[in-house]
Protein backbone atom coordinates (compact mmCIF):
# COMPACT_ATOMS: atom_id res chain seq x y z
CA UNK A 1 0.00 0.00 0.00
CA UNK A 2 1.37 3.39 -0.85
CA UNK A 3 0.56 4.39 2.69
CA UNK A 4 3.28 6.99 2.51
CA UNK A 5 1.08 9.05 0.20
CA UNK A 6 -2.42 7.99 1.08
CA UNK A 7 -2.20 8.27 4.83
CA UNK A 8 -1.11 11.93 4.92
CA UNK A 9 -3.71 12.85 2.30
CA UNK A 10 -6.43 11.16 4.31
CA UNK A 11 -5.28 12.75 7.54
CA UNK A 12 -5.46 16.22 5.95
CA UNK A 13 -8.89 15.32 4.61
CA UNK A 14 -10.04 14.23 8.04
CA UNK A 15 -8.84 17.55 9.39
CA UNK A 16 -10.94 19.39 6.83
CA UNK A 17 -13.86 17.13 7.64
CA UNK A 18 -13.63 18.09 11.29
CA UNK A 19 -13.50 21.74 10.26
CA UNK A 20 -16.71 21.20 8.30
CA UNK A 21 -18.29 19.58 11.36
CA UNK A 22 -17.18 22.24 13.79
CA UNK A 23 -17.19 25.35 11.60
CA UNK A 24 -20.79 26.33 12.33
CA UNK A 25 -20.18 25.94 16.05
CA UNK A 26 -17.20 28.21 15.98
CA UNK A 27 -19.22 30.83 14.15
CA UNK A 28 -22.07 30.34 16.55
CA UNK A 29 -19.75 30.70 19.51
CA UNK A 30 -18.26 33.91 18.12
CA UNK A 31 -21.62 35.47 17.33
CA UNK A 32 -22.95 34.68 20.77
CA UNK A 33 -20.68 37.49 21.98
CA UNK A 34 -22.33 40.01 19.68
CA UNK A 35 -23.31 43.23 21.30
CA UNK A 36 -26.91 43.70 22.39
CA UNK A 37 -29.68 44.38 22.21
CA UNK A 38 -29.20 45.87 18.77
CA UNK A 39 -26.58 43.51 17.34
CA UNK A 40 -27.96 40.92 14.94
CA UNK A 41 -27.16 37.22 14.46
CA UNK A 42 -24.64 37.89 11.72
CA UNK A 43 -21.22 39.35 11.04
CA UNK A 44 -19.60 41.65 11.58
CA UNK A 45 -19.29 41.68 15.34
CA UNK A 46 -20.11 45.24 16.23
CA UNK A 47 -18.71 44.98 19.71
CA UNK A 48 -17.81 42.05 21.96
CA UNK A 49 -20.10 41.62 24.92
CA UNK A 50 -21.71 39.06 27.13
CA UNK A 51 -25.07 40.77 26.76
CA UNK A 52 -26.83 37.76 25.24
CA UNK A 53 -25.65 35.43 28.00
CA UNK A 54 -27.11 37.81 30.53
CA UNK A 55 -30.22 37.92 28.40
CA UNK A 56 -30.62 34.16 28.58
CA UNK A 57 -30.53 34.34 32.37
CA UNK A 58 -32.91 37.32 32.42
CA UNK A 59 -30.25 39.67 33.81
CA UNK A 60 -30.65 42.38 31.20
CA UNK A 61 -33.05 45.28 31.40
CA UNK A 62 -36.29 44.52 29.55
CA UNK A 63 -36.12 45.21 25.84
CA UNK A 64 -38.19 44.47 22.77
CA UNK A 65 -36.54 41.05 22.58
CA UNK A 66 -38.46 38.60 24.71
CA UNK A 67 -36.51 36.21 26.92
CA UNK A 68 -36.32 32.62 25.71
CA UNK A 69 -39.08 30.49 27.23
CA UNK A 70 -36.65 27.80 28.22
CA UNK A 71 -36.55 27.14 31.95
CA UNK A 72 -39.66 25.06 32.29
CA UNK A 73 -38.82 23.42 29.00
CA UNK A 74 -35.44 22.38 30.31
CA UNK A 75 -36.94 20.81 33.40
CA UNK A 76 -39.50 18.96 31.33
CA UNK A 77 -36.93 17.75 28.85
CA UNK A 78 -34.64 16.41 31.56
CA UNK A 79 -37.50 14.63 33.31
CA UNK A 80 -38.76 13.20 30.06
CA UNK A 81 -35.28 12.04 29.02
CA UNK A 82 -34.77 10.41 32.40
CA UNK A 83 -38.09 8.55 32.26
CA UNK A 84 -37.43 7.47 28.70
CA UNK A 85 -33.93 6.30 29.55
CA UNK A 86 -35.12 4.07 32.39
CA UNK A 87 -38.03 2.51 30.53
CA UNK A 88 -36.30 1.95 27.23
CA UNK A 89 -33.19 0.49 28.87
CA UNK A 90 -35.27 -1.94 30.90
CA UNK A 91 -37.25 -2.92 27.81
CA UNK A 92 -34.05 -3.15 25.77
CA UNK A 93 -32.29 -5.44 28.25
CA UNK A 94 -35.36 -7.65 28.63
CA UNK A 95 -35.92 -7.98 24.89
CA UNK A 96 -32.26 -8.62 24.11
CA UNK A 97 -32.18 -11.25 26.86
CA UNK A 98 -35.23 -12.87 25.25
CA UNK A 99 -33.42 -12.93 21.92
CA UNK A 100 -30.63 -15.05 23.35
CA UNK A 101 -32.83 -18.08 22.82
CA UNK A 102 -34.27 -18.72 19.42
CA UNK A 103 -38.03 -18.42 19.70
CA UNK A 104 -40.82 -18.62 17.20
CA UNK A 105 -41.54 -15.30 15.54
CA UNK A 106 -38.23 -13.78 16.63
CA UNK A 107 -37.59 -12.36 13.17
CA UNK A 108 -40.91 -10.54 13.08
CA UNK A 109 -40.37 -9.19 16.58
CA UNK A 110 -36.90 -8.01 15.63
CA UNK A 111 -38.22 -5.96 12.76
CA UNK A 112 -41.15 -4.70 14.83
CA UNK A 113 -38.73 -3.27 17.36
CA UNK A 114 -36.32 -1.87 14.79
CA UNK A 115 -39.26 -0.22 13.04
CA UNK A 116 -39.47 2.15 15.99
CA UNK A 117 -36.22 3.85 15.01
CA UNK A 118 -36.94 3.65 11.30
CA UNK A 119 -40.27 5.42 11.13
CA UNK A 120 -39.81 9.19 10.96
CA UNK A 121 -40.97 11.20 13.92
CA UNK A 122 -43.55 13.15 11.97
CA UNK A 123 -45.31 9.94 11.05
CA UNK A 124 -45.62 8.35 14.49
CA UNK A 125 -46.25 11.78 15.94
CA UNK A 126 -49.08 12.32 13.53
CA UNK A 127 -50.43 8.81 14.07
CA UNK A 128 -50.47 9.07 17.83
CA UNK A 129 -52.00 12.53 17.66
CA UNK A 130 -54.80 11.06 15.56
CA UNK A 131 -55.29 8.20 18.01
CA UNK A 132 -55.36 10.64 20.93
CA UNK A 133 -57.85 12.85 19.13
CA UNK A 134 -60.16 10.02 18.32
CA UNK A 135 -59.92 8.20 21.62
CA UNK A 136 -60.27 11.55 23.31
CA UNK A 137 -57.23 11.70 25.56
CA UNK A 138 -55.23 14.83 26.17
CA UNK A 139 -51.82 15.03 24.58
CA UNK A 140 -49.13 15.67 27.20
CA UNK A 141 -45.34 15.60 27.19
CA UNK A 142 -45.31 13.06 30.06
CA UNK A 143 -47.94 10.83 28.42
CA UNK A 144 -48.31 10.68 24.69
CA UNK A 145 -44.91 12.22 23.98
CA UNK A 146 -43.23 9.97 26.52
CA UNK A 147 -44.53 6.74 24.97
CA UNK A 148 -43.32 7.89 21.56
CA UNK A 149 -39.89 8.71 22.95
CA UNK A 150 -39.69 5.15 24.22
CA UNK A 151 -40.82 3.84 20.84
CA UNK A 152 -37.88 5.74 19.39
CA UNK A 153 -35.14 4.98 21.94
CA UNK A 154 -36.06 1.42 22.90
CA UNK A 155 -34.81 0.03 19.54
CA UNK A 156 -31.43 1.68 20.10
CA UNK A 157 -31.15 0.25 23.59
CA UNK A 158 -32.26 -3.11 22.23
CA UNK A 159 -29.64 -3.15 19.47
CA UNK A 160 -26.87 -2.07 21.83
CA UNK A 161 -27.79 -4.87 24.23
CA UNK A 162 -28.14 -7.39 21.41
CA UNK A 163 -24.63 -6.58 20.25
CA UNK A 164 -23.39 -6.94 23.82
CA UNK A 165 -25.08 -10.32 24.26
CA UNK A 166 -23.75 -11.52 20.92
CA UNK A 167 -20.26 -11.16 22.32
CA UNK A 168 -21.21 -12.57 25.68
CA UNK A 169 -19.76 -15.98 26.54
CA UNK A 170 -22.70 -17.73 28.13
CA UNK A 171 -20.63 -20.53 29.60
CA UNK A 172 -19.97 -18.29 32.62
CA UNK A 173 -23.67 -18.45 33.36
CA UNK A 174 -23.67 -22.21 33.04
CA UNK A 175 -20.67 -22.28 35.32
CA UNK A 176 -22.65 -20.36 37.93
CA UNK A 177 -25.62 -22.72 37.63
CA UNK A 178 -23.38 -25.74 38.00
CA UNK A 179 -22.14 -24.18 41.24
CA UNK A 180 -25.70 -24.25 42.55
CA UNK A 181 -26.52 -20.60 41.96
CA UNK A 182 -30.09 -19.96 40.80
CA UNK A 183 -30.65 -18.40 37.35
CA UNK A 184 -32.01 -15.19 38.87
CA UNK A 185 -29.05 -14.75 41.18
CA UNK A 186 -26.75 -15.69 38.30
CA UNK A 187 -28.20 -12.86 36.27
CA UNK A 188 -27.67 -10.44 39.14
CA UNK A 189 -24.20 -11.56 40.13
CA UNK A 190 -22.65 -12.60 36.83
CA UNK A 191 -24.59 -11.54 33.76
CA UNK A 192 -25.53 -8.04 34.83
CA UNK A 193 -22.09 -6.93 36.04
CA UNK A 194 -20.61 -8.19 32.78
CA UNK A 195 -23.13 -6.41 30.56
CA UNK A 196 -23.17 -3.26 32.68
CA UNK A 197 -20.93 -1.17 30.40
CA UNK A 198 -23.38 -2.00 27.62
CA UNK A 199 -26.32 -1.00 29.80
CA UNK A 200 -24.64 2.34 30.48
CA UNK A 201 -24.20 2.91 26.76
CA UNK A 202 -27.82 2.02 26.13
CA UNK A 203 -28.85 4.52 28.82
CA UNK A 204 -26.69 7.24 27.33
CA UNK A 205 -28.14 6.59 23.90
CA UNK A 206 -31.70 6.72 25.17
CA UNK A 207 -31.13 9.85 27.23
CA UNK A 208 -29.43 11.79 24.47
CA UNK A 209 -31.96 10.84 21.81
CA UNK A 210 -34.89 11.69 24.01
CA UNK A 211 -33.41 14.94 25.32
CA UNK A 212 -32.99 16.25 21.79
CA UNK A 213 -36.12 14.73 20.25
CA UNK A 214 -38.62 17.14 18.79
CA UNK A 215 -40.39 15.88 15.68
CA UNK A 216 -42.34 13.27 17.65
CA UNK A 217 -42.85 15.65 20.53
CA UNK A 218 -44.12 18.35 18.21
CA UNK A 219 -47.36 16.51 17.48
CA UNK A 220 -47.67 14.36 20.55
CA UNK A 221 -47.18 16.82 23.38
CA UNK A 222 -49.80 19.31 24.36
CA UNK A 223 -49.45 22.93 25.34
CA UNK A 224 -46.44 22.49 27.65
CA UNK A 225 -43.29 22.76 25.58
CA UNK A 226 -40.14 20.75 26.00
CA UNK A 227 -36.79 22.44 25.43
CA UNK A 228 -36.41 21.54 21.72
CA UNK A 229 -39.97 22.69 21.09
CA UNK A 230 -39.23 25.99 22.78
CA UNK A 231 -36.24 26.47 20.50
CA UNK A 232 -38.27 25.40 17.48
CA UNK A 233 -40.80 28.03 18.41
CA UNK A 234 -38.19 30.75 17.97
CA UNK A 235 -37.59 29.63 14.37
CA UNK A 236 -40.76 31.21 13.14
CA UNK A 237 -39.96 34.59 14.66
CA UNK A 238 -36.85 36.65 14.21
CA UNK A 239 -33.61 35.12 15.45
CA UNK A 240 -31.37 36.92 17.92
CA UNK A 241 -27.93 35.99 19.20
CA UNK A 242 -29.53 34.98 22.51
CA UNK A 243 -30.30 31.64 20.93
CA UNK A 244 -26.61 31.31 20.04
CA UNK A 245 -25.63 32.05 23.60
CA UNK A 246 -28.14 29.50 24.70
CA UNK A 247 -26.65 27.00 22.22
CA UNK A 248 -23.23 27.48 23.73
CA UNK A 249 -24.64 27.00 27.22
CA UNK A 250 -26.53 23.81 26.34
CA UNK A 251 -23.45 22.43 24.66
CA UNK A 252 -21.49 23.02 27.84
CA UNK A 253 -24.30 21.43 29.81
CA UNK A 254 -24.27 18.40 27.52
CA UNK A 255 -20.58 18.04 28.06
CA UNK A 256 -21.05 17.94 31.78
CA UNK A 257 -23.61 15.16 31.32
CA UNK A 258 -21.15 13.39 29.09
CA UNK A 259 -18.50 13.78 31.74
CA UNK A 260 -20.81 12.14 34.26
CA UNK A 261 -21.24 9.24 31.86
CA UNK A 262 -17.51 9.00 31.31
CA UNK A 263 -16.91 8.91 35.05
CA UNK A 264 -19.53 6.19 35.52
CA UNK A 265 -18.13 4.19 32.65
CA UNK A 266 -14.57 4.46 33.89
CA UNK A 267 -15.70 3.48 37.35
CA UNK A 268 -17.49 0.42 36.04
CA UNK A 269 -14.53 -0.59 33.91
CA UNK A 270 -12.23 0.07 36.81
CA UNK A 271 -14.31 -2.15 39.04
CA UNK A 272 -13.66 -4.90 36.53
CA UNK A 273 -9.98 -4.12 36.60
CA UNK A 274 -9.93 -3.35 40.29
CA UNK A 275 -7.68 -6.24 40.98
CA UNK A 276 -5.32 -5.12 38.29
CA UNK A 277 -4.90 -1.79 39.99
CA UNK A 278 -4.27 -3.37 43.36
CA UNK A 279 -1.60 -5.37 41.66
CA UNK A 280 0.07 -2.28 40.27
CA UNK A 281 0.01 -0.42 43.56
Amino acid sequence: MQTTVIKPVLSVYTGLFLLFLYGPFVVLGILSFQTGPNGGPQFPIIEWSTYWYQHVFGLTPPSRIAPLPIYEGLARSLTLAFMTMIVSTVLGVMSAQAFRTKFKGSDAVFYLIVLGMMVPGVLVGLGLALVANIVGIDRTWWGTAFVLHVVYTFPFAFLVMLAIFNRFDSSVEEAAWSLGVSPIKTFRKVTFPLIFPGVLSAMLFAFTLSYDEFSRTLFASGRDLTLPLAIYGTFSIEIHPNIFAFGVLTTLFSFSLLAVYAVLMTASLRRAKRVAIQEDA
Partner: protein, 357 residues
Protein backbone atom coordinates in the same frame (compact mmCIF):
# COMPACT_ATOMS: atom_id res chain seq x y z
CA UNK B 1 -18.42 -49.48 44.90
CA UNK B 2 -21.75 -47.82 44.44
CA UNK B 3 -22.77 -45.98 41.33
CA UNK B 4 -22.94 -42.24 41.74
CA UNK B 5 -24.23 -41.68 38.28
CA UNK B 6 -26.25 -43.97 36.09
CA UNK B 7 -27.37 -43.15 32.60
CA UNK B 8 -30.01 -45.22 30.91
CA UNK B 9 -30.99 -45.03 27.28
CA UNK B 10 -30.16 -41.37 26.84
CA UNK B 11 -30.96 -39.90 23.42
CA UNK B 12 -30.79 -36.41 22.03
CA UNK B 13 -31.09 -34.99 18.56
CA UNK B 14 -30.78 -31.54 17.06
CA UNK B 15 -33.20 -30.66 14.30
CA UNK B 16 -33.72 -34.35 13.49
CA UNK B 17 -29.98 -35.03 13.47
CA UNK B 18 -29.21 -37.51 16.26
CA UNK B 19 -26.34 -36.45 18.48
CA UNK B 20 -26.70 -39.21 21.07
CA UNK B 21 -28.51 -42.48 20.70
CA UNK B 22 -29.45 -44.83 23.54
CA UNK B 23 -26.42 -44.17 25.69
CA UNK B 24 -26.20 -46.14 28.92
CA UNK B 25 -23.32 -46.09 31.35
CA UNK B 26 -22.61 -45.86 35.03
CA UNK B 27 -19.94 -44.14 37.05
CA UNK B 28 -18.90 -45.50 40.42
CA UNK B 29 -18.09 -43.52 43.53
CA UNK B 30 -14.51 -42.19 43.64
CA UNK B 31 -13.85 -43.28 40.08
CA UNK B 32 -12.10 -41.51 37.25
CA UNK B 33 -13.90 -42.17 34.00
CA UNK B 34 -12.66 -40.69 30.78
CA UNK B 35 -14.97 -40.29 27.84
CA UNK B 36 -13.14 -40.57 24.55
CA UNK B 37 -14.65 -39.66 21.24
CA UNK B 38 -13.66 -37.94 18.03
CA UNK B 39 -15.20 -34.56 17.35
CA UNK B 40 -18.86 -34.92 16.52
CA UNK B 41 -19.28 -38.10 18.55
CA UNK B 42 -21.63 -36.38 20.96
CA UNK B 43 -19.36 -36.41 23.99
CA UNK B 44 -19.89 -32.78 24.91
CA UNK B 45 -23.63 -33.14 24.42
CA UNK B 46 -23.66 -36.05 26.86
CA UNK B 47 -21.87 -33.97 29.46
CA UNK B 48 -24.22 -31.03 28.99
CA UNK B 49 -27.23 -33.30 29.39
CA UNK B 50 -25.86 -34.66 32.66
CA UNK B 51 -25.15 -31.14 33.90
CA UNK B 52 -28.66 -30.04 32.98
CA UNK B 53 -27.70 -27.36 30.46
CA UNK B 54 -29.78 -29.23 27.93
CA UNK B 55 -32.72 -31.61 28.08
CA UNK B 56 -32.60 -35.17 26.74
CA UNK B 57 -35.23 -36.38 24.28
CA UNK B 58 -35.39 -39.76 25.98
CA UNK B 59 -33.70 -41.69 28.75
CA UNK B 60 -32.97 -41.34 32.43
CA UNK B 61 -30.15 -39.73 34.35
CA UNK B 62 -29.87 -41.18 37.84
CA UNK B 63 -27.75 -39.31 40.33
CA UNK B 64 -27.45 -41.14 43.65
CA UNK B 65 -30.42 -43.18 42.53
CA UNK B 66 -32.72 -40.23 41.83
CA UNK B 67 -33.81 -39.33 38.33
CA UNK B 68 -32.63 -35.79 37.79
CA UNK B 69 -33.66 -35.37 34.16
CA UNK B 70 -36.17 -32.66 35.08
CA UNK B 71 -34.15 -30.97 37.84
CA UNK B 72 -32.72 -27.58 36.78
CA UNK B 73 -28.95 -27.35 36.48
CA UNK B 74 -28.42 -25.33 39.64
CA UNK B 75 -30.20 -27.86 41.81
CA UNK B 76 -28.31 -30.90 40.59
CA UNK B 77 -25.16 -30.53 42.65
CA UNK B 78 -22.96 -31.68 39.79
CA UNK B 79 -19.72 -29.81 39.15
CA UNK B 80 -18.70 -28.76 35.65
CA UNK B 81 -15.31 -27.64 34.37
CA UNK B 82 -15.42 -25.91 31.01
CA UNK B 83 -12.94 -26.18 28.20
CA UNK B 84 -12.58 -22.40 28.06
CA UNK B 85 -12.64 -22.36 31.89
CA UNK B 86 -15.57 -19.86 31.92
CA UNK B 87 -14.11 -17.94 34.84
CA UNK B 88 -15.99 -14.88 36.04
CA UNK B 89 -13.91 -12.16 34.43
CA UNK B 90 -15.05 -9.44 36.83
CA UNK B 91 -13.95 -11.31 39.94
CA UNK B 92 -10.57 -12.06 41.49
CA UNK B 93 -9.22 -15.57 41.85
CA UNK B 94 -10.44 -15.63 45.44
CA UNK B 95 -13.91 -14.40 44.55
CA UNK B 96 -14.18 -16.84 41.69
CA UNK B 97 -13.52 -19.71 44.04
CA UNK B 98 -15.85 -18.26 46.69
CA UNK B 99 -18.66 -17.58 44.22
CA UNK B 100 -20.51 -20.87 44.48
CA UNK B 101 -20.21 -21.19 48.24
CA UNK B 102 -21.54 -17.70 48.84
CA UNK B 103 -24.25 -17.51 46.22
CA UNK B 104 -25.61 -21.01 45.96
CA UNK B 105 -29.29 -21.52 46.66
CA UNK B 106 -28.90 -24.41 49.07
CA UNK B 107 -27.26 -23.43 52.42
CA UNK B 108 -24.97 -20.63 51.25
CA UNK B 109 -21.89 -20.09 53.35
CA UNK B 110 -22.07 -16.85 55.31
CA UNK B 111 -19.33 -17.18 57.92
CA UNK B 112 -16.34 -15.22 56.58
CA UNK B 113 -13.83 -17.25 58.56
CA UNK B 114 -15.12 -20.64 57.49
CA UNK B 115 -15.26 -19.38 53.93
CA UNK B 116 -11.72 -18.08 54.00
CA UNK B 117 -10.27 -21.23 55.48
CA UNK B 118 -12.11 -23.40 52.96
CA UNK B 119 -10.88 -21.31 50.06
CA UNK B 120 -7.32 -21.11 51.28
CA UNK B 121 -7.22 -24.88 51.71
CA UNK B 122 -8.39 -25.27 48.13
CA UNK B 123 -5.97 -22.60 46.87
CA UNK B 124 -3.18 -24.59 48.48
CA UNK B 125 -4.37 -27.86 47.05
CA UNK B 126 -4.44 -26.64 43.47
CA UNK B 127 -1.19 -24.72 43.82
CA UNK B 128 -2.45 -21.15 43.49
CA UNK B 129 -0.97 -19.81 46.69
CA UNK B 130 -0.16 -16.12 46.45
CA UNK B 131 -2.40 -15.54 43.46
CA UNK B 132 -5.72 -15.20 45.33
CA UNK B 133 -5.99 -11.46 44.77
CA UNK B 134 -5.10 -11.49 41.10
CA UNK B 135 -7.65 -10.87 38.41
CA UNK B 136 -8.31 -13.89 36.28
CA UNK B 137 -6.78 -12.17 33.27
CA UNK B 138 -3.52 -11.70 35.10
CA UNK B 139 -2.71 -15.37 35.40
CA UNK B 140 -1.50 -17.94 32.92
CA UNK B 141 -3.60 -20.54 31.13
CA UNK B 142 -2.52 -23.30 33.46
CA UNK B 143 -3.36 -21.18 36.49
CA UNK B 144 -6.76 -20.37 35.07
CA UNK B 145 -7.35 -24.07 34.65
CA UNK B 146 -6.56 -24.48 38.34
CA UNK B 147 -8.97 -21.71 39.31
CA UNK B 148 -11.71 -23.39 37.28
CA UNK B 149 -10.99 -26.63 39.07
CA UNK B 150 -10.82 -25.04 42.51
CA UNK B 151 -14.05 -23.15 41.95
CA UNK B 152 -15.86 -26.39 41.23
CA UNK B 153 -14.15 -28.57 43.81
CA UNK B 154 -14.52 -26.19 46.74
CA UNK B 155 -18.23 -26.89 47.02
CA UNK B 156 -17.47 -30.61 47.23
CA UNK B 157 -19.72 -32.01 44.53
CA UNK B 158 -20.02 -35.82 44.45
CA UNK B 159 -19.16 -35.79 40.77
CA UNK B 160 -17.36 -33.35 38.51
CA UNK B 161 -17.81 -33.27 34.76
CA UNK B 162 -14.80 -32.01 32.85
CA UNK B 163 -15.28 -30.92 29.25
CA UNK B 164 -11.89 -31.18 27.51
CA UNK B 165 -10.36 -29.39 30.48
CA UNK B 166 -6.85 -29.50 29.04
CA UNK B 167 -7.83 -28.65 25.49
CA UNK B 168 -6.99 -24.97 25.81
CA UNK B 169 -3.50 -25.58 27.20
CA UNK B 170 -0.36 -26.04 25.17
CA UNK B 171 1.25 -29.44 24.81
CA UNK B 172 3.86 -29.22 27.55
CA UNK B 173 1.45 -27.80 30.07
CA UNK B 174 -1.11 -30.43 29.19
CA UNK B 175 1.18 -33.25 30.20
CA UNK B 176 1.95 -31.56 33.49
CA UNK B 177 -1.71 -30.82 34.25
CA UNK B 178 -2.60 -34.46 33.59
CA UNK B 179 -0.63 -35.48 36.65
CA UNK B 180 -1.97 -32.58 38.69
CA UNK B 181 -5.55 -33.40 37.87
CA UNK B 182 -5.14 -36.99 38.99
CA UNK B 183 -3.37 -35.99 42.15
CA UNK B 184 -6.05 -33.50 43.13
CA UNK B 185 -8.81 -35.95 42.37
CA UNK B 186 -7.34 -38.77 44.38
CA UNK B 187 -6.69 -36.43 47.31
CA UNK B 188 -10.32 -35.36 47.42
CA UNK B 189 -11.84 -38.70 46.51
CA UNK B 190 -14.32 -37.06 44.16
CA UNK B 191 -15.69 -38.75 41.04
CA UNK B 192 -14.51 -37.37 37.70
CA UNK B 193 -16.12 -37.79 34.31
CA UNK B 194 -13.61 -36.37 31.89
CA UNK B 195 -14.40 -35.77 28.24
CA UNK B 196 -11.50 -35.70 25.82
CA UNK B 197 -10.76 -36.05 22.16
CA UNK B 198 -7.21 -37.20 22.82
CA UNK B 199 -6.64 -40.94 23.14
CA UNK B 200 -3.43 -40.32 25.06
CA UNK B 201 -5.26 -38.25 27.62
CA UNK B 202 -8.03 -40.81 27.97
CA UNK B 203 -5.59 -43.68 28.33
CA UNK B 204 -3.45 -41.80 30.82
CA UNK B 205 -6.18 -40.52 33.09
CA UNK B 206 -9.13 -42.87 33.34
CA UNK B 207 -9.73 -45.76 35.69
CA UNK B 208 -12.15 -46.69 32.96
CA UNK B 209 -12.66 -45.36 29.45
CA UNK B 210 -15.96 -44.89 27.69
CA UNK B 211 -15.47 -44.71 23.94
CA UNK B 212 -18.24 -42.88 22.13
CA UNK B 213 -18.84 -43.91 18.54
CA UNK B 214 -21.23 -41.73 16.52
CA UNK B 215 -23.46 -40.93 19.46
CA UNK B 216 -23.51 -44.45 20.91
CA UNK B 217 -21.31 -46.22 23.41
CA UNK B 218 -18.60 -48.11 21.52
CA UNK B 219 -16.81 -49.66 24.47
CA UNK B 220 -16.53 -49.27 28.23
CA UNK B 221 -13.52 -50.83 29.88
CA UNK B 222 -10.18 -50.22 31.56
CA UNK B 223 -7.59 -48.29 29.53
CA UNK B 224 -5.52 -51.42 29.19
CA UNK B 225 -8.41 -53.44 27.81
CA UNK B 226 -9.60 -50.73 25.45
CA UNK B 227 -6.12 -50.18 24.11
CA UNK B 228 -5.18 -53.80 23.63
CA UNK B 229 -8.57 -55.21 22.74
CA UNK B 230 -10.78 -52.59 21.12
CA UNK B 231 -14.17 -54.15 20.71
CA UNK B 232 -14.87 -52.90 17.19
CA UNK B 233 -12.92 -51.54 14.22
CA UNK B 234 -14.33 -48.09 14.96
CA UNK B 235 -13.00 -48.08 18.50
CA UNK B 236 -9.65 -49.25 17.15
CA UNK B 237 -9.72 -46.39 14.69
CA UNK B 238 -10.33 -43.79 17.40
CA UNK B 239 -7.28 -45.02 19.29
CA UNK B 240 -5.15 -43.76 16.40
CA UNK B 241 -2.62 -46.56 16.74
CA UNK B 242 -4.00 -49.41 14.65
CA UNK B 243 -3.59 -50.25 10.99
CA UNK B 244 -6.99 -51.39 9.85
CA UNK B 245 -7.84 -53.54 6.84
CA UNK B 246 -11.30 -54.26 5.57
CA UNK B 247 -12.01 -57.55 3.87
CA UNK B 248 -13.53 -60.93 4.62
CA UNK B 249 -12.80 -64.14 6.52
CA UNK B 250 -11.72 -66.69 3.98
CA UNK B 251 -11.19 -70.12 5.52
CA UNK B 252 -8.39 -69.81 8.07
CA UNK B 253 -7.21 -66.46 6.82
CA UNK B 254 -8.38 -62.91 6.55
CA UNK B 255 -8.28 -61.62 3.02
CA UNK B 256 -9.02 -58.37 1.27
CA UNK B 257 -8.30 -59.72 -2.17
CA UNK B 258 -4.69 -58.59 -2.22
CA UNK B 259 -3.33 -59.55 1.16
CA UNK B 260 -3.97 -62.72 3.14
CA UNK B 261 -3.26 -62.87 6.85
CA UNK B 262 -3.42 -66.25 8.63
CA UNK B 263 -5.91 -66.35 11.52
CA UNK B 264 -4.82 -67.22 15.01
CA UNK B 265 -6.77 -66.74 18.15
CA UNK B 266 -10.28 -65.52 18.73
CA UNK B 267 -12.55 -63.67 16.36
CA UNK B 268 -14.36 -60.56 17.57
CA UNK B 269 -17.93 -60.52 16.45
CA UNK B 270 -18.67 -57.54 14.28
CA UNK B 271 -20.95 -56.86 11.37
CA UNK B 272 -18.13 -55.49 9.22
CA UNK B 273 -15.12 -57.82 9.03
CA UNK B 274 -11.83 -56.07 9.70
CA UNK B 275 -8.25 -56.84 10.59
CA UNK B 276 -6.33 -54.60 12.96
CA UNK B 277 -2.68 -54.60 13.90
CA UNK B 278 -1.14 -52.09 16.24
CA UNK B 279 1.45 -49.80 14.68
CA UNK B 280 4.11 -50.51 17.28
CA UNK B 281 3.85 -54.30 16.93
CA UNK B 282 5.08 -54.33 13.34
CA UNK B 283 8.72 -54.91 12.52
CA UNK B 284 10.40 -53.96 9.27
CA UNK B 285 12.58 -56.50 7.46
CA UNK B 286 14.33 -56.66 4.12
CA UNK B 287 11.98 -58.12 1.56
CA UNK B 288 12.45 -61.62 0.26
CA UNK B 289 12.76 -63.30 3.65
CA UNK B 290 9.86 -65.69 4.13
CA UNK B 291 7.60 -65.45 7.18
CA UNK B 292 8.26 -67.69 10.12
CA UNK B 293 5.57 -69.84 11.64
CA UNK B 294 3.01 -67.79 13.52
CA UNK B 295 3.90 -64.64 11.70
CA UNK B 296 1.76 -62.57 9.42
CA UNK B 297 2.93 -59.86 7.10
CA UNK B 298 2.87 -58.04 3.84
CA UNK B 299 5.31 -56.40 1.51
CA UNK B 300 5.07 -52.67 1.13
CA UNK B 301 6.95 -49.75 -0.34
CA UNK B 302 8.58 -47.33 2.06
CA UNK B 303 7.34 -43.76 1.61
CA UNK B 304 8.54 -41.50 4.35
CA UNK B 305 9.30 -41.22 8.00
CA UNK B 306 8.25 -38.85 10.69
CA UNK B 307 10.29 -38.08 13.69
CA UNK B 308 8.29 -36.96 16.69
CA UNK B 309 10.99 -36.92 19.31
CA UNK B 310 11.15 -40.08 21.37
CA UNK B 311 8.99 -41.88 18.84
CA UNK B 312 9.34 -42.28 15.13
CA UNK B 313 6.86 -43.29 12.48
CA UNK B 314 7.38 -45.03 9.13
CA UNK B 315 4.86 -44.84 6.34
CA UNK B 316 4.58 -47.66 3.84
CA UNK B 317 2.32 -48.18 0.89
CA UNK B 318 0.99 -51.73 0.67
CA UNK B 319 0.15 -53.46 -2.61
CA UNK B 320 -3.54 -52.68 -2.18
CA UNK B 321 -2.78 -48.99 -1.88
CA UNK B 322 -3.27 -49.02 1.87
CA UNK B 323 -0.97 -46.76 3.86
CA UNK B 324 0.57 -48.81 6.66
CA UNK B 325 2.05 -46.97 9.61
CA UNK B 326 4.81 -48.45 11.74
CA UNK B 327 5.74 -46.83 15.01
CA UNK B 328 8.91 -47.23 16.99
CA UNK B 329 10.15 -45.77 20.23
CA UNK B 330 13.77 -44.86 20.83
CA UNK B 331 13.68 -46.59 24.20
CA UNK B 332 13.56 -50.05 22.68
CA UNK B 333 14.32 -49.72 19.00
CA UNK B 334 16.87 -47.79 17.06
CA UNK B 335 15.66 -46.02 13.92
CA UNK B 336 16.39 -48.00 10.73
CA UNK B 337 17.85 -46.61 7.55
CA UNK B 338 15.19 -47.24 4.94
CA UNK B 339 15.37 -46.31 1.27
CA UNK B 340 12.47 -44.41 -0.15
CA UNK B 341 10.55 -46.34 -2.83
CA UNK B 342 12.19 -49.65 -1.87
CA UNK B 343 10.13 -52.63 -0.88
CA UNK B 344 10.25 -54.07 2.63
CA UNK B 345 8.62 -56.88 4.49
CA UNK B 346 6.36 -55.78 7.33
CA UNK B 347 5.95 -58.53 9.87
CA UNK B 348 3.94 -59.11 13.02
CA UNK B 349 2.88 -62.01 15.19
CA UNK B 350 -0.38 -63.36 13.85
CA UNK B 351 -1.85 -63.76 17.34
CA UNK B 352 -1.23 -60.11 18.16
CA UNK B 353 -3.62 -58.97 15.47
CA UNK B 354 -7.29 -58.38 16.21
CA UNK B 355 -9.74 -59.86 13.77
CA UNK B 356 -13.35 -58.73 13.56
CA UNK B 357 -15.95 -60.67 11.68
Amino acid sequence: MTDVLRIEGLSKSYSAKPALFDVSLSVADNEYVSLLGPSGSGKTVLLRLIAGFEQPDAGRILFDGNDIASVPAHERGIGFVFQNFALFPHLSVYDNIAFGLVNRERDPLTDENVLRSKIMTMVDLVGLKGLEDRGVHQISGGQRQRVALARTLVSQPRIVLLDEPLGALDANLRTRMRGELRRIRSQLGVTFLHVTGSETEALAMGDRIVVLDNGSVGQIDTPDAVYNRPISPNVARYLNCYNLFEGAIDGNAFSNGVHRFPLKGALWPNSVPAYAIRQDLITVRQSGVSLADGEAGLTATYLASEYTGAAFMYFFKAADGHIVEVEGHLSHRAPQNLDANSTYQLVWKADEALVYG
